[in-house]
Symmetry: C2
Subunit: 215 residues, 2 copies
DNA sequence: CGAAATTTTGACCGAATGGACAAACGTTAG
DNA sequence: CTAACGTTTGTCCATTCGGTCAAAATTTCG
C-alpha cells in the first residue's frame, strides 16, 4: 500500500529485483519502439507481471523512461572520459574506438535507446546535451588539439573526429539488422566486430597519422 | 465516393497534390516518432486536413508508411549505384562521401525514417535488405576489392568500409540535434557540413591511401 | 502462530487510437 | 441548370492507451 517509489533508499531486495526486471523489459521495448511507440502493457508483459503491479514500482511510463535514460547516460560517457591526455595519442584513440565498439556489442539496446531519443529530437535530454556532454566534448577536443599542435597526430577538426568515432561504432548497434543482412549469414556472425575493429583502426589511425608540419 | 487509391493511374492533379502533402506531413511524423509512435490524427493535422479526408487518399496508416518507405528506397541507393568502376578510386570514394553527406543535409527526414526502421528491426524492409541491398553492396565491394588488388587503395574490408561511410554521413542527419548541441550556436550553423566533409575526406582518403605492397 | 506490512491483481475509467460511414459540399460537363 | 462525379467532414465505433483503486494474496516479523 505504501508507495516505495519516492524514498531514496530502496527497502527490500524484492523491490530492487523487480525494478531491475522492469527496467530490463522496458529497455527492450523503448529501444525498439521509441517512447511514444512503447506501451506499458507491452513492458509489463515482457517483465512477466501485470500492469498495475508494474505501476506499483514505477510512477508511470515517463518515470520508467527517465530512470532508463538516467542510467544510460552514466555509462555512456564513461569511455570518452577515459580518453587521457597522458599516453600515446594514437594508442589513446585506438583504445577509445575499442571501448566504444565493445559497448555497441555488449549494450546494443542502450545504444538504440539513445538513438531513438536523438531521432525524436532529444526532447528529454536536451539540457544534458548542451551542458554536460558539450562540456566534456569541448574538453576532450582541447586535448586532441594539443596532440595536433605537438605534431603527434594530423591536424583536423576534433569535434567532427569524435562524431566520426561515435557514428562508426554505434552503427553496429543501431543498424545491427542492416549490418547482418548485408554481411549475410556467413560473415554476419560474431566475427563482424573484429572485422569492424580492424577497419576502423586502420581508418582512424592511418587517417590521423601525423605528416607534413614539423613541431 | 469511388476509391481513387488502387488504380495505378492517379487521375486528377488534386489527388496527386494532396497525396504529396500527406506524404510530406507523414514523413515529418514517422521520422521523428517511428511507426508505432506516429498517429493518423497527427499526420492529418500536419497535412492540414481532417482524418477522414486523409483516409480518402490512403487506405490506412500502413499504406502511408509503405508508400513512404518505397519512395525512400528508390533515392536511397542511388548514390551507391553511381560508385563507378571507371575513374580514379579515391576520387570515386570522395564523390560518394560528398553525395551521401549532401543527402544527409538535404533529406534528413528520409534518413531518420530509415534509421527508425532499422532501430525497430527493419520489420517492413527485411527482404529488401537481404535482397536488393545486399546484392548491390556485394557488387560494389567487388569493385573496391578490385581497386585494392590493383594497389590503388589500401587493403581493408570493403563491406565495413561502406558501413563506415554510411555511418559517418547519416550521423549528421540522424543525430543532428546532438551535433548541433555539441558544436554550440557558433559552429553548429550551416558550416558544419563543410567541416564534416573536410574531416571525412581526410579520414577516408588518408586512411585508404595505398602503401606497402607493390602491384 | 497472527498481525502488520508488502506485493499482486481484477475491475474499472477517461482519453486517444485506427478506422468506417453516410451525409454534405464542391466542381464540372452536358 | 443539373446530374454526375470528386472531395470533405461530422459522427460513430471497437480497441487500446495510461493510469487508478480497492480488494485479495503474500511475505515479514514479533
Amino acid at each position: 500500500m505504501t508507495a516505495p517509489l519516492q524514498s531514496p533508499r530502496r527497502r527490500t531486495r524484492i523491490q530492487q529485483e523487480k525494478r531491475d526486471v522492469i527496467l530490463d523489459a522496458a529497455l527492450d521495448v523503448f529501444s525498439t519502439h521509441g517512447y511514444r511507440g512503447a506501451t506499458i502493457d507491452q513492458i509489463a508483459e515482457a517483465a512477466g507481471m501485470s500492469k498495475p503491479n508494474l505501476l506499483y514500482y514505477f510512477k508511470g511510463k515517463e518515470d520508467i523512461h527517465a530512470t532508463l535514460i538516467h542510467r544510460l547516460l552514466e555509462t555512456w560517457l564513461a569511455p570518452l572520459k577515459e580518453l587521457d591526455d597522458i599516453g600515446d595519442p594514437l594508442t589513446e584513440i585506438r583504445s577509445y574506438i575499442r571501448r566504444k565498439l565493445e559497448m555497441a556489442r555488449d549494450f546494443p539496446r542502450e545504444s538504440r535507446l539513445f538513438a531513438n531519443e536523438m531521432l525524436q529530437g532529444a526532447p528529454r535530454i536536451m539540457p544534458m546535451l548542451e551542458g554536460e556532454l558539450k562540456s566534456l566534448v569541448d574538453e576532450k577536443a582541447e586535448v586532441i588539439k594539443g596532440w595536433m599542435r605537438a605534431g603527434k597526430i594530423a591536424r583536423t577538426d576534433p569535434w567532427h573526429l569524435i562524431f566520426a568515432i561515435w557514428a562508426t561504432t554505434q552503427h553496429y548497434a543501431d543498424f545491427d539488422v542492416q549490418v547482418r543482412a548485408v554481411l549475410g549469414p556467413d560473415r554476419g556472425g560474431d566475427g563482424r566486430f573484429e572485422d569492424a575493429a580492424r577497419l576502423l583502426e586502420q581508418l582512424f589511425l592511418e587517417g590521423l597519422r601525423p605528416r607534413g608540419q614539423v613541431s
